[in-house]
């Protein structure tokens, strides 16, 4: 099982077992990453599962869809390495991924 690490804005670290096929958002909720809110339940409609991808990993993720790009426009404190965690599927290749969370989720 791939392991992923979420580092919350207050420096709380969660290293979690991620199930292949699940999304990073689901992994975060199950693992108790409180600063992932996921109001819309994974429909790419709320921008409340916003994460910053560790620089070493940015280019190793599947690219953003237009929909995700649009939605990120509405998020708070967007950076070049911003993603919506509901749009990142867990795969074996993502073992070791590090994601950080912003201090505010939502638009």
């Amino acid at each position: 099982m791939p392991k992923v690490t979420f580092i919350e804005f207050d420096d709380t670290v969660h290293t979690l077992d991620a199930e292949a096929g699940a999304t990073m958002m689901e992994t975060a909720l199950q693992g108790g990453v409180t600063s992932i809110v996921a109001e819309c339940g994974g429909a790419c409609s709320c921008a409340t599962c916003h994460v910053y991808v560790d620089d070493a990993w940015v280019s190793r993720l599947a690219p953003k869809s237009d929909e995700e790009e649009d939605q990120l426009d509405s998020a708070f404190d967007v950076r070049p390495n911003s993603r919506l965690s509901c749009q990142i599927k867990v795969t074996e290749e993502l073992d070791g991924l590090v994601l950080r969370t912003p201090s505010y989720q939502g638009r």
């Binding site: 108790g32 109001e39 819309c40 339940g41």
Partner: protein, 408 residues
């Protein structure tokens, strides 16, 4: 110390418990739910869940381990039946009563029932996962669907069913869709996209009665028409589950009356989510909201208050809906608006309707234009001076204007 008891384990109940813990509350916390499932996501129930195989376990919001780590006890599949406020106990259907120092009521809302549908087969309401399971099973074999009520739940189910190739008719009693929450421009847009997907909408139409016609339900319309349906989805609004609170002597008027910290007129009892009524500064009156954002944000204030931290609940309301390829997002409250401006292009399915009241921006309804929503929230919260002409001018720098406002 008896600690905190929370009634209801959906967004508000869970968030209140988590926020109390995070704000430092160290006493026992128990959450009672009449459903036997772990807390789950509700927005997908009328959308993705009906369309594809979203597994039930993927809907779980937080797992067992999370609650164990936070020392929050879940009492699932157990109905709270009475609040003994003076004795500070919640009586349960089958188990011994739970004593509390503080109580959070997060009982949500239930679907308003259609009296004429009582006793018939094929009638569905949609609130819970159990409702969605039943609806999905019937949907797999149904050919003809009638949706009573052109609100969010009704239209989302209509869109999902149309995508599955069903013949769908929506019966709406008013002259436009989601009249209470949406601008006329958005109502017309929704009408058109449903029409483009072969959904028939009957406006200004009411149901006078229903009968069972073999395996089908027969719906009698006020104009004399009769419609047959393999499945009738009734989405005519919600009723707050506030009776238990009222019976306990807590003030209830279209919801449990709470202040900006989620506290009722009895300081030991708090409430959050669909079941509450709170004063909203945008419309300057008490309102009741049904949304995930409201449930979570209000519950954060309630949970914090229990731990002795004052966090005012004054978030600008946000709503969203997915229908076909349209992502609708709403921020603010458009009630009583007297002017509007359109930014973007309706023809391209990418636009926002800026809504004004007395010269002030009060709400923005967006379709596939999420970027306007974040700026919009800041503009509304900050009371920005924005004119309809500026709002409709795509070259006018909204971000720049938002930047001039005091930081939140």
């Amino acid at each position: 110390m008896s600690g905190l008891v929370v009634i209801g384990a959906s967004y508000a109940g869970v968030q209140a418990a988590i926020s109390a813990r995070e704000a430092g509350y160290a006493e026992p916390i128990r959450i009672v739910s009449d459903e036997d499932m772990l807390p789950y996501q509700r927005p997908p129930l009328s959308k993705a869940y009906l369309l594809d195989g979203v597994a039930e376990d993927k809907l779980i919001i937080r797992g067992d381990k999370y609650f164990a780590d936070k020392k929050i006890d879940l009492v699932l599949g157990e109905k709270a039946i009475r609040i003994d406020r003076t004795g500070k106990r919640v009586e349960l259907q089958n188990k011994p009563a739970l004593a509390f120092d503080r109580l959070v009521i997060a009982t949500g809302s239930r679907a308003r029932q259609l009296p004429s549908a009582a006793g018939l087969q094929n009638i569905f309401y949609l609130r819970s996962l159990a409702d969605a399971l039943a609806l999905k099973a019937q949907l797999s074999t149904a050919a003809e669907l009638v949706v009573i009520g052109g609100g969010f739940i009704g239209l989302e189910v209509a869109a999902s069913a149309a995508k599955l190739g069903k013949k769908v008719t929506v019966i709406e009693s008013t002259r436009r869709l989601i009249e209470r929450a949406l601008s006329p421009v958005l109502s017309e847009f929704l009408r058109d996209i449903h029409k483009n997907h072969n959904v028939t909408i009957r406006f200004s139409e009411t149901v006078t009665g229903m009968t069972q016609n073999g395996a089908k339900a027969e719906i009698h319309c006020a104009n004399g028409d009769k419609l047959n349906a393999d499945l009738v989805l009734v989405g005519i609004g919600g009723i707050p589950n506030a009776e238990m609170a009222a019976d306990a002597g807590i003030s209830v008027q279209n919801g449990i009356m709470v202040d900006a910290f989620g506290v009722s007129d009895h300081s030991e009892v708090l409430a959050a989510g669909d079941c509450t009524s709170h004063f909203n500064a945008l419309v300057k009156r008490n309102i009741r909201l049904e949304s995930v954002q409201h449930a979570q944000d209000q519950a954060k204030s309630a949970g914090s208050a229990i731990a002795g931290k004052q966090v005012v609940y004054d978030a600008i309301p946000r709503f969203w809906s997915d229908q076909y390829d349209a992502k609708l997002q709403m921020v603010g409250l458009s009630e009583g608006h007297d002017a509007h401006a359109i930014r973007g292009s309706i023809a391209d399915n990418k636009f926002s309707v800026f809504l004004f009241r007395d010269g002030k921006l009060v709400a923005i309804d967006s379709v596939n234009r999420p970027g306007d929503q974040l700026i919009g929230r800041r503009l509304i919260a900050g009371g920005a001076m924005l004119s309809p002409a500026q709002a409709s001018d795509d070259s006018f720098d909204l971000k720049g204007l938002a930047g001039t406002l005091a930081p939140e």
